[in-house]
């Protein structure tokens, strides 16, 4: 690319209620032309979770600036991107290694606001996300749906330091204003990255997205990954990502910098909630289009297993992440042995919580066993969400709340069996504790 992507002043502009728009400020066609193709064909590779996420963003023509700051277990994301970009002689994409996570978040704000039709990804973990907090709350409300903040789950604590993954970090940031999507497995991580900007930048949503996956358990786990041709990814994203109708920081009015009255602030927050609610309608549309084009399941509110056509189950498990796979591996045998119909859902969309879809899925379960993996002051983040979703039912199933895998601890097959045994207590009419913790096949 010989010409600058920024034309010489004066630029054409027009007024909107939110400020001035400079539609020619960035020549998107030049940006598209500058993209270096990573995969020309559908390829099968071996990758871990961080690599899968990195490759997806490298394949997007709208991703040209990658700001980041390393923190285990997300470090390999930015390392992979830097390694690829450094090999592209004459390439226009850049990695910006910042001095701290807070600086990364601020950089994302400035870049995303100035270039609202491009996508600005980064990845962090645990206290890295905490360090960003001063900005993430504003970012969540900003309408900058072109920010893609990957959270590689790690227990949120600096002492004792634990590099393994539980979703304490992402769940502690539940109300930052991001759309939060949990993934399990390489393919789901890759596919989610491709779809996330389509959701976040949708004109009815305009909300940044925080895709997430478990540190170590998924970030460092290698398996087969199918990668799609860049051209196909571009075609898919271009169908969904339309020119942003709002100005960025170029003489525009955004969430940043202005001191407003409570009256304005409240209206702003109401708008934020309404946009977030739109996710529940837009996500299935994007998902269906993804499946049509690529032949794999797209984004979902949750993955369900074991429910019959009538939706009935004796015991339904609610959890998330790769440990749900271990539940799947013991489910049928346990059901056969116990004579119970055992089913489960692994949550994908954490925020906004799809309460109607969850209620519909669980309304014919006799008991619901919610397996929380993040530290919580009470019965667990997921438990409270599920309880809320089921509260309107005339005869809601009993909810049994447990914790396992905190700090990324292993959740073994025998631990799952013990938790299922515990959940059966509700079916037998026993009084159940508000919550219980399981590890290595034992109730602590």
């Amino acid at each position: 690319m010989k010409e600058s992507i920024v034309p010489a002043a004066p630029m054409a502009h027009h007024t909107t209620p939110s400020g001035e728009i400079y539609p020619g400020a960035l020549n998107l066609e030049k940006v598209r032309e500058a993209h270096r193709v990573l995969h020309k064909t559908r390829d099968t590779i071996t990758a871990d979770g961080n690599t899968a996420a990195a490759i997806a963003t490298l394949q997007m023509w709208r991703c040209i600036l990658f700001a980041g700051f390393p923190i285990t277990p997300s470090t390999k994301y930015i390392e992979t991107i830097a390694a690829h970009i450094s090999q592209q002689v004459g390439g226009k994409k850049r990695v910006k290694l910042m001095e701290a996570e807070h600086a990364v978040a601020d950089y994302l704000v400035g870049a995303a606001a100035a270039c609202r039709d491009l996508i600005f990804p980064t990845a962090t973990s645990s206290v890295g996300l905490d360090h960003m907090t001063e900005t993430t709350r504003s970012l969540g409300a900003s309408g900058l749906g072109n920010v893609l903040l990957v959270d590689v789950y790690r227990a949120t604590a600096n002492f004792p330091l634990c590099i393994e993954g539980d979703p304490s970090d992402t769940l502690a940031h539940r109300d930052d204003g991001f759309i939060q999507i949990a993934c399990r497995g390489k393919q789901q991580i890759y596919d989610t990255m491709i779809q996330s900007p389509c959701l976040g930048m949708h004109h009815e949503v305009m909300t940044p997205v925080m895709p997430g996956y478990y540190g170590i358990k998924d970030s460092h786990r290698n398996a087969r990954l199918i990668v799609e041709p860049d051209k196909e990814i571009h075609a898919f994203q271009d169908r969904w990502i339309k020119p942003c109708p709002f100005p960025g920081l170029v003489n525009g009015d955004t969430a940043f910098g202005n001191c407003v009255t409570s009256r304005h602030f409240q209206g702003f927050k109401v708008s934020q909630k309404r946009r977030m609610d739109r996710v529940l309608d837009v996500l299935p549309q994007i998902s269906a289009d993804f499946e049509r084009q690529f032949g794999r399941p797209g984004l979902a509110f949750f993955d369900a297993v074991g429910f019959g056509d009538d939706g009935a189950a004796d015991l339904a498990v609610v959890s998330l992440g790769p440990d749900f796979g271990t539940f799947e591996s013991v489910r049928e045998e346990y059901a056969k042995r116990s004579g119970l119909k055992v089913a489960g859902i692994a949550m994908r969309l954490l925020t906004p919580f799809p309460r109607d879809a969850v209620r519909k899925r669980l309304e014919r379960a006799k008991a619901v066993l919610v397996v929380n993996q993040a530290h919580h002051q009470g019965r667990g983040h997921l438990t409270l969400d599920v309880a809320d979703a089921l509260a309107d039912l005339a005869t809601p199933p009993r909810i049994v709340s447990v914790f396992a895998g905190m700090g990324g601890a292993d959740v073994s097959e025998i631990t799952w069996e013990q938790m299922l045994d515990h959940g059966r207590g509700a079916l037998e009419g026993r009084a159940m504790p508000p919550w219980a913790v399981f590890h290595e096949g034992r109730q602590l």
Partner: protein, 327 residues
């Protein structure tokens, strides 16, 4: 030696269920690369399903680490750690001081070790029943790669133990993994030479040396009564000795036959573990009498660097196995 036992057919395990593999080694010792390479190799078969991931404890060079691998012709759902592996791999014999690398392996399992010892010696020393495969990886690494690292050899030995691939496929797959790490061409060629030499150096046998009480699955004993803020022992260590972080085969030694210690105490103040022994000396200050290398010395080298009289040094150290001495 007892009568030979039967060894499992690992290809049959892959066909009918899931082959679970666990490896023990030390951070920086090449275990993760060896397992990643095995995963990439297996994924060359379009019908193979594979999971591979590491487990780090204390995140520093020399600390014990683990790697896990699942291989199957069926989709793999389980995501938990491997506790009953059909195949156990030992990258670094020093790692076996802190963990039982054969824990939970059923009779007839396969054991792959990076060691100079023979399969027979290993079977008797570690009490192994099943197929024992050895390769002197560190020696081959030293010869071809100028570095005592056994990942190349262990990869070949483990892949041959699993079976299903020819030597050229094994070599190509490994070198492809290295290429992704942007290793220069000359180093790749050295690795190829090391791969071929490793294939020639593999020894194996089938043994029955495990007693009924060997390698039991550890019963989890709970967290106990910990004082607030206390750290639990490292999850992969039985003893929590940071001396196991030191490179295998080397130990620190303090020698002062002429009582040359000046009493400057630089070693005492610089030692991060507080393991320098000393006595007050009225004329010279703090006179060093020795160093406890059995507990926490991880060979950081601080004492060696600061001693003005050069009284600390690294010396070769090798555990002498009874099995070897007997034979």
């Amino acid at each position: 030696m007892k009568a030979p036992a039967q060894a499992m057919d690992l290809q049959e395990v892959i066909r009918t269920s899931v082959l679970e593999v666990r490896g023990d080694g030390k951070a920086g010792g090449g275990l993760v690369l060896a397992f990643q390479s095995l995963a990439s190799l297996m994924l060359r078969d379009d019908e193979m399903h594979v999971q591979e991931w590491p487990f780090f404890s204390s995140a520093r060079r020399g600390a014990n680490i683990r790697s896990f691998l699942r291989i199957s012709r069926r989709p793999i759902q389980a995501g938990c750690e491997v506790t009953r592996p059909r195949m156990a791999v030992l990258m670094d014999e020093g790692a076996a001081r802190s963990v039982d690398f054969a824990q939970g392996v059923p009779p007839g399992g396969t054991f792959v070790l990076n060691t100079r010892h023979t399969p027979d010696e290993c079977a008797r020393h570690y009490h192994l029943t099943g197929r024992v495969v050895t390769v002197p990886g560190d020696d081959i690494g030293t010869k071809y790669l100028k570095h005592a690292i056994g990942n190349v050899s262990l990869y070949i030995a483990a892949a041959r133990a699993i079976g299903g691939f020819g030597i050229e496929q094994l070599a190509d797959s490994f070198l492809e993994t290295l290429k992704k790490r942007r290793i220069p061409a000359t180093i790749l060629e050295r690795n190829r030479a090391a791969l071929l030499a490793s294939a020639e150096s593999i020894r194996e046998g089938i043994f029955d040396e495990a007693g009924p009480d060997d390698h039991p699955l550890a019963e989890w004993a709970g967290y106990g009564d910990l004082p607030i803020g206390a750290q639990t022992p490292l999850r992969l260590s039985q003893s929590n000795r940071t001396s196991d972080y030191a490179p295998s085969g080397i130990r620190l030694r303090f020698e002062d036959p002429a009582t040359a210690c000046t009493g400057c105490a630089h070693c005492i103040t610089n030692c991060p573990e507080g393991i320098i022994r000393f006595v007050p000396d009225a004329e010279r200050g703090l006179l060093v009498t020795g160093v406890d290398v059995s507990t926490f010395c991880k060979l950081c080298g601080e004492c060696i660097a600061v001693c003005p009289e050069k009284l600390f040094k690294e010396v070769p150290s090798e555990d002498r196995w009874e099995e070897v001495l007997a034979s």
